[in-house]
C-alpha cells in the first residue's frame, strides 16, 4: 500500500522527520505512538501534502506511484485520506454539498460520471448510520457549530463516504468521550477490508482497545525507533517513553 523510505522533512530550518521508514500493506492497521514533538502529526501532514513542510530526502511509494510528486488533491483522489486532528469549519458550505463536490471531483479524475443525486443521498443515509451521525448534521455547514465529538465523527463519516485506500487518523481520539470513541472505532473497524489500510496516530493506548492494530510503532525524534505488536502499546501506557529513550542512548 505505502512504502516510506528514509523520509526527511523540515519546516523552516527545523528538521522534524529524520529518516523515517515505514511499510504498510493492504488489510493492515498500524498505530504510531510517540511523545509530544516526535513528529507524528508532521508525518500525517507530509503524507497528505501540506505545503508548509519541505521534504528534503527520501521516497514514498503509494500503490506504485511516487506520492511526493503528486499535488495534495491528487493524493486524495488516489485514495489517501487524512482524518484531521482539528477539523476546520467552513461556514455556509453544507456538509452534503462539500462531500458531493469531493466525490465528483474524484470521479471526474477517473473519468467517471458524476454521482446521481439519488445514489448520493442513499450513500449519505447508509454511511451516516455507520457513525451514528445525526442526519441533520449532514445538511449543516461543514463542522460549523459541531461539538468536538461531532467533528471527529464527521471525519469518519467523510472517510466512509470517500472510501479511501489508505486512511490516516491523526489523533482522532483526542477530545472524545468513551461513547464517541467507541462509535468512531466501530466506524473504522467496519470500513476495514483486505483492500485498504489504516494508520492510527495516537497518544494513548485507549483507542487501541477498540481499533486493534497489527503493528505498533514508536516515533521518536523523527524516526521509527521501535516496532511491535499490540502489547507494545500497553507497555508504553504503563511505562511511558523513558525506557525507549534509555534503550536508544545505550
Amino acid at each position: 500500500m505505502i512504502e516510506i523510505k528514509n523520509l526527511h522533512a523540515k519546516i523552516g530550518d527545523k528538521e522534524i522527520l529524520k529518516g523515517l521508514n515505514l511499510t504498510v500493506k493492504a488489510g493492515e492497521i498500524h498505530a504510531i505512538m510517540g511523545p509530544n514533538g516526535a513528529g507524528k502529526s508532521t508525518l500525517a501532514s507530509v503524507l497528505a501534502g501540506r505545503e508548509d513542510y519541505e521534504v528534503t530526502e527520501g521516497t514514498v511509494d503509494f500503490e506504485g506511484t511516487d506520492l511526493l510528486n503528486l499535488a495534495t488533491e491528487e493524493r486524495a483522489r488516489e485514495g489517501l485520506f487524512l482524518a484531521f486532528q482539528y477539523p476546520i469549519e467552513i461556514p455556509g458550505v453544507s456538509n452534503i454539498n462539500f462531500l458531493r463536490t469531493a466525490i465528483n471531483e474524484i470521479r471526474e479524475s477517473k473519468r467517471e460520471n458524476p454521482i446521481s443525486a439519488k445514489d448520493f443521498m442513499a450513500l449519505v443515509r447508509e454511511k451516516s448510520k455507520l457513525v451514528e451521525l445525526d442526519p441533520k448534521l449532514a445538511s449543516r455547514s461543514v463542522n460549523e457549530g459541531f461539538s468536538g465529538g461531532e467533528k471527529k465523527r464527521n471525519e469518519i463519516f467523510q472517510m466512509a463516504m470517500l472510501n479511501p485506500k489508505l486512511a490516516i487518523l491523526d489523533e482522532t481520539d483526542s477530545g472524545l468521550d468513551i461513547d464517541a470513541l467507541r462509535v468512531v472505532a466501530n466506524g473504522v473497524n467496519t470500513l476495514k477490508s483486505d483492500k485498504n489500510a489504516t494508520i492510527v496516530i495516537t497518544h494513548y493506548q485507549r483507542l487501541l482497545d477498540y481499533i486493534v492494530p497489527d503493528f505498533v510503532h514508536v516515533l521518536y525524534d523523527g524516526k521509527i525507533v521501535k516496532t511491535g505488536g499490540k502489547e507494545l502499546a500497553l507497555k508504553l501506557e504503563e511505562k511511558g517513553y523513558d525506557w525507549i529513550k534509555e534503550e536508544l542512548a545505550n
Binding site: 501534502g49 501540506r50 455556509g92 469531493a102 471531483e105 471526474e108
Partner: protein, 484 residues
C-alpha cells in the same frame, strides 16, 4: 439550486477572463464630445422631450457646475475629464422597433452573448423574467410588455415613459434623489439618456421578475441611466439589473440614478449583479461606477436592496432606504468583490423617520490582489422613530497580503427607545480551509468557490434563483487564482 451550480461551475471556470469584453460593431448615432447647454438641448431634442424635462435638465446642469466632485470616499483615481466624454450614443436604427423582428441582427447577437435570449423568451411563455435592454444611451428592447399591460403594470424604457406617462414621471422623478443630492446625481439629472421605468398599480403583485440589462458598448462614451420604480399601495415587484461593458484601456464613466418608491403596504425587491469591466491586471481601464440609489418607504412598506458587485475599476455606491412610513422595513444585502487594482467604496444609508421602523444590513466584502474594499454605512434614527431597530453585520474577507478591507460605519441615534446592533469581522481566507478541501480531492479553484460562496450565502440567498446561480459563478470567476 446547489446542484445546478456545482455541476456547471467547472465549465465556467475555464472561461476565467472577463467574458463580456467584446464590442458590437454597430453604427452609432453620437453627440459630439463634451458637456454644455447645447449638448443637453441636443439630448433632449433627440428624445423629443417635453419642455419641462429640458428645463429640469438645464437647471440640474447649472447646479452641477457649482458642485465639486466628492472626495471623501476611500478611493483614488484620476478624475474624469467631463469635457472628454460623449454624452449621447445610440445604436443607429432606421425606424422604431415595432417588434422583436425589427431588431438589428448584430444587436441580437450581442444579447445572445450576454445571455439575454429574448427570442427564447418569446417562445417560452413559461419563463418569468421580463427584460429591458439598455445599450449605451438607449433602451433597445423590452419584452413581455403586452402581458404586463393586462395587469396595468408599466414596464418600459425611461424615454418612452416620458412620452407616454409624463404625469407619472413628473410627479415622482427627483422626489427620492433630488437633483441637488450630490455631484453625480446632478450630472445624471442633466444628461441622463435612458433607463427603465416601472409602475405597479394598487394591489397588484407583479407575476414575473422585471429585469434591465445595461450594456456600455461604444468607446469614449459614458452611461447615465435613470431608473424609476413606483410600487403603488399594496403592490409587489421584484426587479433585477445586470451590467457589462467591453474591455478597453480607457476609464469609462457610469453615473446612474435609481429611485424606488414603495407606497403604503407595498414591497420592492431590487437586485443588482454588477459586472462592469473592472480593468486589466495592472489596473488599466475599467468603468468608474458612481451611482446614487435610494428608495422611500410608506406605511408598512418594505424595500430590499441586494447587490453582488464584482466589476468596475472604481465603485462609489450606497443603495439607501428612507423609512418614512411607520412600521416600514429597509434591507441591504451586499457582496462586493475587488481584485487586482479595483477599488470599491460601497454600503448603505438607513434613515429611520417613522415609528417601529426596522432595517437590516448584511455586507460581505471580499478583497483580492492589490485591491481596496470599503464598507461605508449610515444608520440614522430620528427623534420620532420610536422603537426602531437596526441590525448591521459587516464582514470582510482578505484573499492576499496586499489588499485592504476598511469599514466606516456611522450611527446617529436621537431616540432612546431604539435598538441598534453592529457586528463586524475581518478574516483572511483560511489556508487551512483550502487544505481541508484539497485533502478531500477538491481542486483549489473549486475550494475557493465553495468557501467564498459559503461566506456570501446569506446575501446570495436573497437573490432570485436565476440570478443566484449566475452570481455564484461570477464570484468564483472573479477570484480565480487570487489566493496569495
Amino acid at each position: 439550486m446547489a446542484n445546478y451550480t456545482e455541476d456547471e461551475l467547472a465549465q465556467d471556470l475555464e472561461n476565467q477572463e472577463y467574458k463580456f469584453g467584446f464590442t458590437t460593431d454597430i453604427d452609432a448615432d453620437q453627440a459630439p464630445k463634451g458637456l454644455n447647454e447645447d449638448i443637453i438641448r441636443f439630448i433632449s431634442a433627440k428624445k423629443e422631450e417635453p419642455n419641462w424635462m429640458l428645463e429640469n435638465r438645464l437647471e440640474a446642469f447649472e447646479m452641477w457646475k457649482k458642485m465639486t466632485e466628492p472626495d471623501w470616499a476611500h478611493v483614488k483615481y484620476k478624475k474624469p475629464d467631463f469635457q472628454d466624454i460623449i454624452y449621447y450614443s445610440a445604436p443607429k436604427q432606421t425606424k422604431k422597433y415595432e417588434s422583436w423582428d425589427d431588431v438589428d441582427p448584430e444587436m441580437k447577437e450581442t444579447m445572445k452573448k450576454l445571455g439575454i435570449s429574448m427570442e427564447e423568451q418569446k417562445r417560452l411563455t413559461g419563463t418569468n423574467v421580463a427584460v429591458d435592454f439598455v445599450m449605451d444611451s438607449v433602451s433597445v428592447a423590452t419584452s413581455f410588455k403586452a402581458k404586463l399591460k393586462e395587469l396595468g403594470i408599466i414596464f418600459c424604457s425611461f424615454s418612452e415613459a416620458v412620452q407616454e406617462y409624463p404625469e407619472l414621471v413628473r410627479e415622482h422623478m427627483g422626489t427620492v434623489v433630488p437633483t441637488s443630492d450630490n455631484f453625480y446625481a446632478a450630472l445624471n439629472s442633466a444628461v441622463f439618456t435612458d433607463g427603465s421605468f416601472c409602475y405597479i398599480p394598487k394591489g397588484v403583485r407583479c407575476p414575473m421578475e422585471l429585469s434591465t440589462y445595461f450594456r456600455i458598448n461604444e468607446g469614449g462614451t459614458g452611461q447615465f441611466e435613470r431608473t424609476l420604480v413606483i410600487a403603488d399601495e399594496g403592490s409587489y415587484v421584484s426587479y433585477l439589473e445586470g451590467c457589462t461593458a467591453p474591455q478597453r484601456d480607457e476609464n469609462q464613466l457610469h453615473a446612474a440614478v435609481v429611485e424606488l418608491i414603495a407606497k403604503d403596504n407595498a414591497e420592492i425587491k431590487y437586485s443588482t449583479v454588477q459586472n462592469w469591466y473592472p480593468g486589466d491586471k495592472n489596473g488599466l481601464g475599467g468603468i468608474f461606477n458612481f451611482v446614487t440609489k435610494r428608495g422611500i418607504c410608506g406605511l408598512n412598506s418594505k424595500i430590499s436592496w441586494t447587490q453582488v458587485e464584482t466589476g468596475s475599476a472604481v465603485t462609489w455606491k450606497y443603495p439607501s432606504c428612507i423609512l418614512k412610513g411607520d412600521n416600514s422595513i429597509g434591507e441591504f444585502y451586499s457582496v462586493a468583490v475587488t481584485n487586482n487594482y479595483q477599488q470599491a467604496d460601497t454600503g448603505t444609508k438607513m434613515i429611520h423617520l417613522g415609528k417601529n421602523t426596522k432595517s437590516t444590513i448584511i455586507s460581505k466584502g471580499i478583497s483580492a490582489g492589490k485591491s481596496h474594499n470599503s464598507y461605508r454605512g449610515l444608520v440614522q434614527i430620528h427623534k420620532n422613530a420610536t422603537n426602531s431597530r437596526n441590525f448591521s453585520q459587516c464582514d470582510s474577507l482578505l484573499m492576499t497580503d496586499e489588499c485592504g478591507a476598511h469599514t466606516f460605519p456611522y450611527i446617529e441615534c436621537k431616540n432612546s427607545s431604539s435598538k441598534i446592533e453592529h457586528e463586524a469581522t475581518t478574516s483572511k481566507i483560511g489556508e487551512d480551509q483550502i487544505f481541508y478541501c484539497l485533502q478531500r480531492g477538491i481542486s483549489e479553484e473549486k475550494a475557493i468557490g465553495l468557501i467564498v460562496n459559503g461566506y456570501c450565502k446569506e446575501v446570495l440567498n436573497q437573490l432570485p434563483m436565476e440570478f443566484a446561480v449566475e452570481a455564484q459563478k461570477l464570484l468564483t470567476i472573479s477570484l480565480e487564482g487570487s489566493v496569495g
